[in-house]
Symmetry: C2
Subunit: 405 residues, 2 copies
C-alpha cells in the first residue's frame, strides 16, 4: 500500500464545485487502495480578502496576528475538502498544520519548517482516512501559529512527503508540467517528462515560475521525487528528481526568458580594493536582490571600472537610491538604469559534459541580429541579457536551435 501526497493550489480549490472535483480525483487514488494525504491552499481570493481586512485597520499589521488571521484560509479549505470527500463516501479527516505536527521556527509570516512529527497523520491514515492537511502553516514548539510565506503549501507537501516517506508526491497546479519554454512565447514548446532538481532550480531562478525555489531546494535536500501536473486533466506531468546519467544526454533542458529584470550600470567606479564589496553590501542591506554582475576595468593612470548588475524591476527604485547615495560618497562618474532588458537563459545538466554550448548560443543570437549585453554562466546554465524587444524572437530562435532538432 503506497502513500501518496497530493497538493492542490488555491485555484484548484477556488470554489465548492472545484473542491468537489479535487475530491473526485482524490477518491480515484484512494479507491486504488493507496493511502492519500492531501495538502490544500486557501481558496483563491480568501487570503487577499483577509489581508485587505487587516490593512483596513492598519498599514503594518503585526506579523504574529497576520499568521493567526491567514491560517484560517487553509483551515477552511481542509474542512470543505474533507466534507466533499465524505459526500462521495470516502472516509476523511482534516488537520491544521499544527495538528499535523508541522513544527516551525518563530519567524512569523515566513517561518521555516524545523521538524515534522506526523503521528496524527499516521493514526488517521491507519484508521482508513484520507487525511487533509492545511498547507502554508505550522506552529512553533511553544504552540504559536505560523505561516511559511509564498509557496508555503508546496513546501508543506514536499516536507510531509519526506516525513511520511511517501511513494509519490504530486503538485497539482493549473499548468500541465514544466515546459521546454513558455508556450505563450514558443508555441512548439514541449512538456518535459523528467527534470533534475538542479535544472528545476535554475529554471525557477531564470524566471520560470512553476514553483518557488525553496520548495525545490527542500525536495533536493531530502531527495523527495515529485511530479508537477495539472488538476484540470489526467495528463502525466513533469517528474522532478535527482539527476541521472541518462539526463546528461540532453544538453539543454529548457529555455526561459525573464522580463522582470532591470540593469543598473555604474560608469567610472574608482578601481580600488573593496569597492565592489562596499557597493553590494549597501544593496544587500537595503534587501535588494542582485542577480547578474559584470565588471570591466579601464587601465590608465587613475584606473576606473564600469560595473553593471541586474535587479528585479520592483527593486530598481530602491537600488537607485542606494547607488546614488554611494556615487557621491565614493566618486562614481555616472549611474544609468535600463528597464528595457530581458534575461534569456538555457538550462541543462548535459552542459557539464558538452562543450561549445555557449558558442552555439551566441552564434544563434548573432544570426538573429540580437546584441548581447551581459553574459553569466554556471555549470548548468548560460544567461544573457539582451534588449527586451528582441526577447521573444531570441527565445524562439534558441528553442529551435537546441530543442527542436
Amino acid at each position: 500500500m503506497a502513500i501518496i501526497v497530493q497538493k492542490y493550489g488555491g485555484t484548484s480549490v477556488g470554489n465548492t464545485e472545484r473542491i468537489r472535483n479535487v475530491a473526485r480525483r482524490v477518491a480515484r487514488y484512494r479507491e486504488q487502495g493507496d493511502q492519500v494525504v492531501v495538502v490544500v491552499s486557501a481558496m483563491s481570493g480568501v487570503t487577499d480578502t483577509l489581508i485587505k481586512l487587516a490593512k483596513e485597520i492598519t498599514a503594518l499589521p503585526d506579523e504574529r496576528e497576520m499568521d493567526m488571521l491567514l491560517a484560517t484560509g487553509e483551515q477552511q479549505t481542509i474542512a470543505l475538502t474533507a466534507i466533499a470527500l465524505q459526500s462521495l463516501g470516502i472516509q476523511a479527516a482534516s488537520l491544521t498544520g499544527a495538528q499535523a505536527g508541522i513544527v516551525t521556527d518563530g519567524v512569523h509570516t515566513k517561518a521555516k519548517i524545523q521538524n515534522i512529527a506526523p503521528h496524527e497523520v499516521h493514526r488517521l491514515l491507519d484508521a482508513g482516512n484520507v487525511v487533509i492537511v492545511a498547507g502554508f502553516q505550522g506552529q512553533t514548539e511553544e504552540g504559536q501559529i505560523t505561516t511559511l510565506g509564498r509557496g508555503g503549501s508546496d513546501l508543506t507537501a514536499i516536507a510531509l512527503a519526506a516525513a511520511l516517506k511517501a511513494d509519490l508526491c504530486q503538485i497539482y497546479t493549473d499548468v500541465d508540467g514544466v515546459y521546454t519554454a513558455d508556450p505563450r512565447i514558443v508555441p512548439s514548446a514541449k512538456k518535459i517528462s523528467e527534470i533534475a532538481y538542479d535544472e528545476m532550480l535554475e529554471m525557477a531562478g531564470a524566471g520560470s515560475k512553476v514553483m518557488q525555489l525553496r520548495s525545490v531546494e527542500f525536495a533536493k535536500k531530502f531527495n523527495v521525487v515529485f511530479e508537477v501536473r495539472s488538476s484540470l486533466n489526467d495528463n502525466p506531468g513533469t517528474l522532478v528528481k535527482e539527476e541521472t546519467r541518462s539526463m546528461e544526454g540532453v544538453v539543454v533542458r529548457g529555455v526561459s526568458l525573464d522580463k522582470n529584470q532591470a540593469k543598473v550600470t555604474l560608469f567610472g567606479v574608482p578601481d580600488r580594493p573593496g569597492m565592489a564589496a562596499r557597493i553590494f553590501k549597501a544593496l544587500a542591506n537595503s534587501a535588494v536582490n542582485v542577480d547578474m554582475i559584470i565588471q570591466n576595468v579601464h587601465a590608465g593612470s587613475q584606473p576606473t571600472s564600469d560595473l553593471s548588475f541586474t535587479v528585479d524591476k520592483p527593486d530598481l527604485l530602491k537600488a537607485r537610491k542606494v547607488i546614488d547615495a554611494l556615487a557621491q560618497e565614493v566618486g562614481i562618474r555616472e549611474v544609468v538604469a535600463d528597464e528595457n532588458i530581458g534575461k534569456l537563459s538555457i538550462v541543462g545538466v548535459g552542459m557539464k559534459s558538452h562543450s561549445g554550448v555557449a558558442a552555439k548560443m551566441f552564434e544563434v543570437l548573432a544570426e538573429e541580429g540580437v546584441n548581447i549585453d551581459m553574459i553569466s554562466t554556471s555549470e548548468i546554465k548560460i544567461s544573457v541579457v539582451i534588449e527586451l524587444s528582441k526577447g521573444e524572437i531570441a527565445t524562439r530562435a534558441i528553442h529551435r536551435a537546441f530543442l527542436e532538432c
Copy 2:
C-alpha cells in the same frame, strides 16, 4: 490590578470599523491599569457564509469538519481585534480557544466545556498584553477542535471569568441590558440594574432572549457576576448575580411575553395510569420540547381527561404527527392545535416572600377582559397562556400594575 473579561458579539465586531470601536473601548479599560481579556464572536455573517459553503457540498456535513470550518470565524476576529488594539498602541495578543486552554468534551458542534487551563492567558496578561480569546470554541484532550453551539461565546467569557477569578465580566450586546419588559411592547419599560441568576433564567425561559440559558446556568454554578451592557454607548447595564436579601423587596422583576408558543389539546384521553408518561415520552423521543402542561379529569364510569400542553411553534407539526399517531393507538377522542396564543410571565424572587401575587395578576387580566387559558407557576414565576391578540395589551397592564407603582 483587577482582571476584566469582556465579550463582544458578532454585530459588535461586524466590520473593521466596529472592531476599531471595540478596540477603543478595550483600550480605555486597559489604560485604567486593569488586565483585560476580550472574548469575541465571528464577524456577523461569516458563520452563515461558511455554513452555506458546506451546504453547497452536502446537505449534512460531518460535525467534526463543521467545527474545523466554523472555528475559523472567531479566529479571524481575534487577529483583527489584536491588530486594532496594536494600532492604538496597546500591546495585545490573540489566542484560539485551544491555545487559551479551553478543554471540552468531544461532542462536535455542541461541545461542553470540561475544564479551563488558562496558563497561556496568564502568561500573556503578565507580559502586559490585552489577551483576545476566540469565543465559541475549544479543543478536546486529544487536540480535536470543537465548537460550543449557540450562545457559545457568552459561555467562553463566563467560563474564562470563572477560571481567571476575574473581578468583572461584561457581556457587550446590542441592547442596554435586561428590561422590565420588551420596550417595543411596553414603552415605559425600565432597565433592571440588578437581577438574580434565577430571575434571569426564568426571564430567558419566558422568552426574553438576551442570553442563552446555559451561559446563565454556568454563571450561577460558578458564581460569576456578569454585566449585560451595550457596545454602542457607555450606559451601565444589568448586573446578573447571586440573589441578595434586598432583591426580595421587589416582588416582580420583569414581565415577558412569548409569542412563539403553540398549544395542543387532547380531548378524551383514557384516564389510565401511565398515559401521560406515554404521551410525553413519545414527544421527547421526537425531540419536541414541551413547556406548560395542564390536565383536567372528567369523572364518570369511564373516566377520561383533557390534556393541554404548549410547544415552540416550529415544533408544532412534529408534535401533531406524534400525537395523531398515538391518538389512534390509545383512543384519544380529539386533538386540537392552537397557534394563536401568547405566554405571559411575571418573574421575581420576591414572590417567595409575598403572597397574593397570582391573585393580583389574574385580577388585572380580568379587568382587561383577558381570558386565561392555562396557568403554570414556579417559586419565582407565574405564567399564563392567553389569546395572542390580547398579548400586548395584557403585558402593558401587568407592567403597569406591578412595575410602575
